[in-house]
Amino acid sequence: MGWITVLPPERVDLDSCVTCGLCLPVCPTYRLTGDETASPRGRLAAIDAVDQGIAPVDERFGEIIDFCLQCRACETACPSLVPFGRIIEGATAEVRAQTPSVEGRLRRFGVTTALRTIPLLRSGAIALGLLQRLGLASRGLRTIPLPERSARGGSWGPGEGPVATLFIGCVADAWFSDIHQATIEVLVAAGYRVEAPSSQTCCGALAAHDGFIDGAEKMAEQNRAALRDAEVVVVDVAGCGAHLKDDPEFGHKVLDVTQVVAEAIDDGRLPVLEGNGELVAVQDPCHLEHGQGIIEQPRTVLWAAGYDVVDADRGGLCCGAAGTYLVDHPDTSSELGRRKATAVANTGATLVASANAGCEMQLRRFLDDGYVVRHPVEIYASSLAGEGHMSDD
């Protein structure tokens, strides 16, 4: 009974909930099921019971905890400011530690070791790129460039001027190289020198969300060493940014790229481009909105790119991608993905902006052909370069 890991849910955090229930309606799994055990308050009750020693960490506890998407919409809704994300990460770690399985060990390798082993990442990307060209890879992913492209170790822009350190991530380096490219172009246009130190590694968000705190901590240590001297760390994947911002050492230096670009637009360092009369639907990734409190900046960036901006699903539920969730709970993930795609389709826009790689893949999976999904900064970069209409890859 009780907890066995080094960072379990803490009593002081659990006590910050008064069980008012205002988190229930914003929780995707509660919305789909109407079931208290699938709600934030219900999960906290289960965690509280273990903490008090009246329930064990058993299979049912694991189910209750693992059904959570960790979207953190409940944190935004909570008048008591309960740090739910932190609590559920601790509980997930306990589930992994106390209910070991073969599947768990495989996953530990995947989200901890594999994601920080560069040769594995590179060969994996090449293999996936080949499979895509043979028509064998799943819908949702962008076409991975071959020969491979990498931002690792690069530097761009003028010799002087403020330095922006680009966080390149793990799979994003190859899978979303277009986004990194756009980020670099726009930051250089804003007067930054951009550097991507090669010693950085995966942010560790997937490991932490999956309960492998030790693996996440190893990654954090490596990133602390790599990013210690950075003035500002710019992240263009919201899920990574939300995790990195919680780092006790360099978290305060981390900014989402939409924050940096929107500020440069406000300051006049980047231009407000002429309106093109086209519509873009903006989707709010959970780890941007709830994890980082960023709502306005992507809209500013898209407006400055010349578009008429409409909300895809303001205040809506998570799209269901949620890291590895789509693998563990395909039915729930798909239902949420379909709902999000319907909300996007209802806007009438065929261009969709999403600042998180996972959401982007989910949107591509569930939107019909004819929709284009891009990062807001890619859309701005395209307008800045005078390229006009955004098309798919």
């Binding site: 006590d15 910050s16 909930c17 008064v18 069980t19 008012c20 229930g21 205002l22 988190c23 229930l24 309606p25 099921t33 109407g34 079931d35 208290e36 055990t37 308050r41 219900g42 009750a45 289960a46 019971a49 009246i54 329930a55 058993d58 049912r60 506890f61 209750i64 809704a77 909570c78 008048p79 008591s80 400011l81 309960v82």
Partner: protein
């Protein structure tokens, strides 16, 4: 076959929760009491509800209906081992009549979802409890819920034309009707506010209200709670009936502001949130009245929110008030007494005195317009003896409200928490009559036993525990 086997045969394993951990999770609502749950079931149709009731009856297991579990009086908490019938999946809206301004809705529908879905038609459901973003229509019906806007619009009973329900014997009946007037007893009004003790409501015909063409929300800071209360009396005395008049004291304002960052004046002794609705002319003159009455009562800050975003932010603060209390302590306890508006200042003073005497941390937020108080005690239930002390103090607060000519509960329901205090407002004859009504619906004492009526009102309590 056991009770659980039969329920699973009816609903499937996913909709019958009975693992010990599930039972713990379902054993509480938003109040402080923990109950004893045999299983929690999630039916999806009225027919399934009826079948569940018939099964439970055969096993002589009491039934407790539950919506979102946002109740504060323990209404959805089974006392003797009971079956929770969770109604969240009965959440349909159908037959919206845009001319007659009615719709049939399921009890599991979230209150705010109804109004949001009706927004394109320019309509809404008037009762707006502070938990409206989470609480369900079924719970609103069960407790005859109020809310800030009930000052002008009346409580839930004024917005329910008919209710379809499953009786204690598992039959379906409809009370009230689509026709505006009915002969005979108004059983609809008996069912609304009966807290699940007469049957399980499976859908209701709600009255829809047209959205006002214009709205203004005022946020007014006062040096003291007395000044704010005096302003409320002044506004009502002027003949104006605003859509809402809400007061928060300084500790509450501080907690709320920390959550919403809406610019609530944290230096003020109390804040009045007032809303006027109507045509542009009525709204403008209403704002003038409130402004001048407030100035007369030493208002230190008056802010008028006219755009929808700013209004929503101000209301978000008010409606998140209970939840924000956790910033002060992990638990809270409150009653929702009603006092005559003229007694507001006197009763508030006494309530603060009681809080001081028991050395308790108090936060206050209340529907000032209709004298509906929510003196809220923030505490830590893990401190030995604390809950007893809190409940004792809260009972004293109820007594001073009743002594001032007030009533026991405005809107939260009696449930478990206040049943012991019913004797303060009802005579034995009253209570016996209420118990007889209940027997007429439920002779076996199956439906939410041990709730509302005090122990010994009649014979239900004995029946409820015969397991």
């Amino acid at each position: 076959m056991t009770l659980i086997d039969e329920l699973i045969a009816l609903l499937g394993p996913e909709r019958v929760r009975h693992h010990p951990l599930d039972l713990l999770v379902f054993s509480k609502d938003a109040g402080v009491t923990t109950g004893d749950v045999v299983a929690a079931v999630l039916p999806e149709t009225a027919q399934e509800v009826a079948a569940v009731v018939r099964i439970a009856r055969r096993y002589e297991t009491p039934i407790v209906p539950r919506g979102a579990g946002t109740g504060l009086a323990g209404g959805a908490v089974p006392v003797s081992p009971g079956l929770l019938v969770v109604l969240t999946r009965l959440n349909e809206i159908h037959d919206v009549d845009e001319v007659g301004l009615t719709a049939w809705v399921g009890p599991g529908l979230i209150n705010l979802d109804l109004s949001e879905r009706l927004e394109p038609l320019g309509l809404h459901f008037a009762p707006d409890p502070s938990s409206q973003q989470a609480c369900t229509i079924g719970g609103n019906v069960g407790t005859n819920a109020g809310g800030p806007h009930c000052l002008a619009d009346g409580t839930t009973v004024a917005h329910i034309y008919a209710a379809e329900m499953v009786t204690a014997t598992g039959e379906m009946v409809t009370v009230g009707s689509e026709a505006p007037d009915q002969p005979g007893l108004d059983l609809r009004a008996v069912v609304v506010g009966s807290e699940g003790t007469l049957g399980i409501v499976t859908r209701v015909l709600v009255r829809l209200t047209q959205n006002a063409p214009d709205v203004a929300t005022l946020l007014i800071g006062f040096p003291t709670i007395e000044a704010a209360a005096a302003a409320v009396s002044g506004v009502i005395a002027s003949g104006l009936i605003p859509a809402a008049l809400e007061i928060m004291d300084q500790p509450m304002v501080k907690a709320v502001e920390n959550f919403v960052h809406a610019g609530y004046p944290t230096a003020a002794g109390a804040v009045l949130l007032a809303e006027v609705t109507g045509t542009a002319d009525t709204v403008a003159s209403g704002v003038d009245v409130i402004r001048s009455v407030s100035e007369t009562n030493d208002a230190i800050e008056i802010r008028v929110a006219t755009d929808a975003d700013e209004r929503a932010l101000l209301w978000k603060g008010r409606k998140g008030a209970f939840g924000a209390v956790a910033q002060a302590a992990p638990d809270y306890y409150l009653h929702d007494t009603v006092v005559p508006r003229t007694a507001l200042v006197e009763v508030m003073t006494k309530i603060y005195e009681i809080g001081d005497r028991y050395e308790l941390q108090m936060l206050n937020v209340f529907h000032a317009g209709d004298g509906n108080l929510h003196p809220l005690v923030a505490f830590d239930a893990k401190e030995p003896g604390m809950l007893d002390r809190v409940q004792e103090a809260a009972t004293e607060m109820v007594r001073v409200s009743i002594d001032a000519g007030g009533s026991l509960s405005g809107e939260h329901g009696i449930g478990l928490e206040k049943r012991g205090l019913m004797n303060l407002v009802f005579s034995d004859i009253d209570l016996d009559a209420q118990a007889r009504v209940r027997e007429a619906f439920d002779d076996a004492g199956m439906m939410n036993p041990h709730k509302v009526l005090p122990e010994g009102s009649r014979c239900f309590d004995a029946k409820g525990v015969r397991l």
